[in-house]
Subunit: 340 residues, 2 copies
Amino acid sequence: MDKKKIVLTGDRPTGPLHLGHYVGSLINRVHLQDTAQQFIMIADAQALTDNADNPEKIKQNIIEVALDYLSVGIDPNKSVIFIQSMVPQLFELTMYYLNLVSWNRLKHNPTVKAEITQRGFGETVPAGFMIYPISQAADITAFKADIVPVGEDQLPMLEQTSEIVRKFNRTYQCDVLVEPKVMASKLMRLPGTDGKAKMSKSLNNAIFLSEPFESLSKKVKRMYTDPNHLKVEDPGKVEGNPVFTYLDAFATDKEKLEEMKAHYQRGGLGDSVVKKYLLEVLEDFIAPIRTERARYAQDKEYVYRILKEHSEKAAAIAQQTLDEVKRAMGIDYFLEKVNI
Amino acid sequence: MDKKKIVLTGDRPTGPLHLGHYVGSLINRVHLQDTAQQFIMIADAQALTDNADNPEKIKQNIIEVALDYLSVGIDPNKSVIFIQSMVPQLFELTMYYLNLVSWNRLKHNPTVKAEITQRGFGETVPAGFMIYPISQAADITAFKADIVPVGEDQLPMLEQTSEIVRKFNRTYQCDVLVEPKVMASKLMRLPGTDGKAKMSKSLNNAIFLSEPFESLSKKVKRMYTDPNHLKVEDPGKVEGNPVFTYLDAFATDKEKLEEMKAHYQRGGLGDSVVKKYLLEVLEDFIAPIRTERARYAQDKEYVYRILKEHSEKAAAIAQQTLDEVKRAMGIDYFLEKVNI
């Protein structure tokens, strides 16, 4: 039988997770955990690279993200959910990999360049942020991940990891590191409630997995639709209309949805009716998650124990890889020479 | 009574140590170890930043450097002699400090810029090399060193460490990190045998502490003197004449040396006579070191044990600092929440 594939995924704990995370990634993880060995990293150290002045925010969101994971069905008996900073081997690997990457290569990473612009950093960008692609290579290779499910904007990051893997194995004439494959994603990207391409807490256009009904209702009511659909009797556009995009993602009654789309397109269906339906659909989706979340939130000790035990498990695996890396480099001093 | 000062010093293990190291640093350490708590780091990880393709060289030179230390009188009962890569806490500290330094600041470090030019790196400089000032800040602060004895060319490195200390303590409102002071050095810099400003293995102008008599003799014979001192009867220059600079550093009979200088300056003293005296002086200095070195080299197990035990001791101290650092940042998760 084939060896189980190893998957690494994760999130920066900078806020609670939202519907965009679910559609673009979490649902995939819930499925993957049955067939693959899945490591899910709460990337606190990576989040600190551009939040060094606010570690409290990162700390508080670790538990939020963990609650989101558990409440959408990520099963701690199947997936390893760990905290990045509790696996210090990752820092050590990063430092060795940094010697294999030129300064020039680092500063031309397209993903990082785009993110610097987006965050308005310029030259004041923290050095830690600039090198996070190398830290990501450490995360991926520490677990010998075969598969890394990422969006298209993250492909240059994967390419950087692959370059390091190839250079390491070639330089130290070994096959210790494993080149990850991108998982061809059939997943969609959910637009923001304002119709912008990306749902994001910082853009204030996100619906959270932990959204209470009241604010969910408000957010749905304020959603962008077809800007040219001014009167009920006007024909409306379905494509690029975020309300329908959300319905595509979450409505289970596909027949009803198709009827609504046709009605909307020929005119006579008001936005408020469609939004009312979307609110029902989203509430049906979120309600059980909310219940699960409340249940776990009442037993935070359990959640902390999971995180702690899983981080220890992740550290033990990363230590094995680190030992192999140091052996390949020939810097595993004294292992044979002196008995402990 | 005053608390003992804490000193951090060290060397990259890229070759055996030479007379320049002795005069510029080792002699100082031999004295310091009686009054200060001295940590001496064999900086293998730092050496790897520009030797990633040749870790074997670094590995082999660790023992050479350790033998040099012991044979000049660094006492393992007084000084802690440790290997950088065996203190992984240093990598972790480095990663957190990198978030406190801007990319712009990093690339304008004068010492690093000079070293890049010297090594002919340009844009191909390894990223690990570019960030080594931050790794050095981790080395210094991990041991809460008060005093770092460095040459003038290293002052920008110390300034970078101080900046990180101030920024860390300010950002996390604590006084965990200690700002190091430069030790005002009364030590001299020994020129190379070719008269160049710096003695260095890579410039092939070095006399090693482990130099055998035969090659010592050859090196002294080939030394540069006053280029205008062509005939024995010519007056010769003493200033800037490396043979006399070496005699200044190592001759114990100062009266005889002054007489020779006077004779050389008025003419009538040949280079070969001065060199013969220098050879005697250097052999008197090196012979006991050579004997000690041979003795330790016969018991490498003992040297390895020192390095291993001292590295463990250093790691324990660095772990304390790391714990304090993480507590100050508020990322010491679970320490109170879950019992182990």
